[in-house]
């Protein structure tokens, strides 16, 4: 069966969508990704949709769902490289995806993940220290 590969890079998971998403593929990705987050104990997920040219309300909603699920599993999600046409379509569909973090490209997306995850770890460490004290 067709699947979207999920790559692991340290603490982060990298998903590059290279094909046109159809509904079933999106649901499979949702399943796979949530499983992988647990398996890999990932702190961040980066979804690159720069090759995605067609998007509908279902795919948009699935992306939003994936982001929310990842957050529940303690992983930050950032969606990178959205094409102008896709952005316009989503806005016209009334989906502003308020819960999703976005970045221009993989590089700035990674940068964002590193910063936020590092912040989390710092603050976690700090709380740990304070409780020990």
């Amino acid at each position: 069966m067709e699947r979207i590969p999920i790559l692991r890079m340290g603490n982060y998971l990298l998903v590059t969508i290279q094909v046109d998403m159809h509904d079933k593929l999106a649901l499979t990705l949702q399943d796979d990704l949530t499983n992988r987050i647990i398996e890999a104990n990932a702190k961040g997920v980066l979804i690159d949709i720069s090759s995605l040219e067609i998007v509908d309300s279902f795919i948009g909603r699935t992306l939003a769902n994936i982001a929310s699920m990842a957050r529940v599993l303690d992983a930050e999600t950032v969606v990178v490289g959205m094409q102008p046409a896709v952005a316009i379509t989503l806005v016209e569909l009334g989906m502003s995806l308020p819960g999703i973090r976005t970045a221009l490209n993989v590089e700035s997306g990674m940068e964002y993940l590193r910063e936020t995850v590092a912040d989390h770890e710092e603050s976690d460490g700090y709380i740990g220290d304070s409780t020990e004290d």
Binding site: V80, P84, I88, S96, I100, T102, A103, L104, N105
Partner: protein, 293 residues
């Protein structure tokens, strides 16, 4: 075939001569059209009238037989519209054929008043229709010119400028309507991708009015830019517009707004980890541009 068309065919040469003379004598635009072009035009039009298929009647100028003539006149008018002729100058080209044809009609049927009247009114009717068609085509040509100019203005009016590495600005000037906003949105998003910009400043100093529709368009653009990973700052909101926005109940709370473009630029610089500092004058004079103080 009607009688006057036969008469035209028989006297083609003399009519053409008479007509071209008349065309040259009326006050026409020598600066726009030289004599040779005028001669060719007149000759082509006259042959299109004379060489019409035998079964075609002049009563119905929408008949298939008149198509070549109509196309010829339409092209001519469109060309003249583009050259800068006035509508009446264009129509006079056809109408000045009337006296020439009337002369021929008098020669042919001068002795029979009833016949002469019938033919003259037929000629009159026919040429009036052609002149109207010419005017219609002229206006159509003008419309095309206007549409093209509008398109060009649309492209001209939406420049996306790069203010700094990773900061683009879109100074909007003029009223925003749906068609224009679409272009604005597309060119801004395209520029964000091309320049890899994390910040986009939309400056609406030059937008005279902001109504709910315009605000909605702006919000859409800002949301689309956010989806692509760029942050939008709205600047240049005049006091009057701020009042309108609040009175209309438009929610701009999720949008960063600044009153001046400079403030927005400063914010964008700050957020991208940059700072503008004043250079110490004594040091600055040496290191600054050679044009200096």
């Amino acid at each position: 075939m009607s009688k006057f068309l036969e008469a035209i065919q028989a006297n083609r040469k003399s009519i053409l001569q008479d007509w071209t003379q008349r065309l040259k004598s009326v006050d026409r635009r020598r600066d726009l059209l030289d004599d040779r072009e005028l001669d060719t035009d007149a000759k082509n039009v006259l042959s299109a009238i004379a060489d019409v298929p035998a079964e075609t009647t002049p009563d119905d100028i929408n008949a298939a037989g008149w198509q070549p003539l109509k196309e010829l006149l339409a092209n001519l008018s469109v060309l003249r519209a583009a050259k800068g002729f006035t509508p009446s100058e264009t129509a006079i080209f056809v109408l000045s054929l009337k006296p020439s044809l009337f002369t021929v009609a008098r020669q042919q049927w001068g002795k029979d008043a009833g016949e002469l009247f019938l033919e003259i009114s037929a000629i009159n009717d026919f040429l009036d229709k052609l002149a109207l068609h010419t005017t219609d085509s002229y206006i159509h040509g003008r419309d095309q010119v206007i549409a093209r100019q509008q398109e060009e203005m649309l492209e001209l009016s939406t420049p996306v400028v790069t203010l700094w590495d990773g900061i683009v600005a879109l100074p909007l000037i003029g009223t925003l309507d749906s068609a224009r906003t679409q272009v604005v949105m597309e060119s801004l998003l395209q520029a964000i991708v091309q320049t890899n910009s994390r910040f986009a400043i939309i400056d609406i100093t030059g937008v005279p009015t902001v109504d709910t529709l315009v605000a909605q368009h702006l919000l859409k653009t800002i949301t689309a830019a956010r989806l692509m990973g760029a942050e939008c700052i709205l600047s240049g909101i005049r006091p009057q517009i701020a009042q309108t926005i609040v009175h209309l109940g438009i929610n701009l709370e999720d949008v960063i707004t600044k009153s001046k473009l400079a403030d927005a630029f400063r914010l964008a610089l700050e957020r991208s980890g940059r700072k503008v500092v004043r250079v110490d004058k004594s040091n600055g004079a040496n290191t600054m541009s050679p044009r200096g103080v």
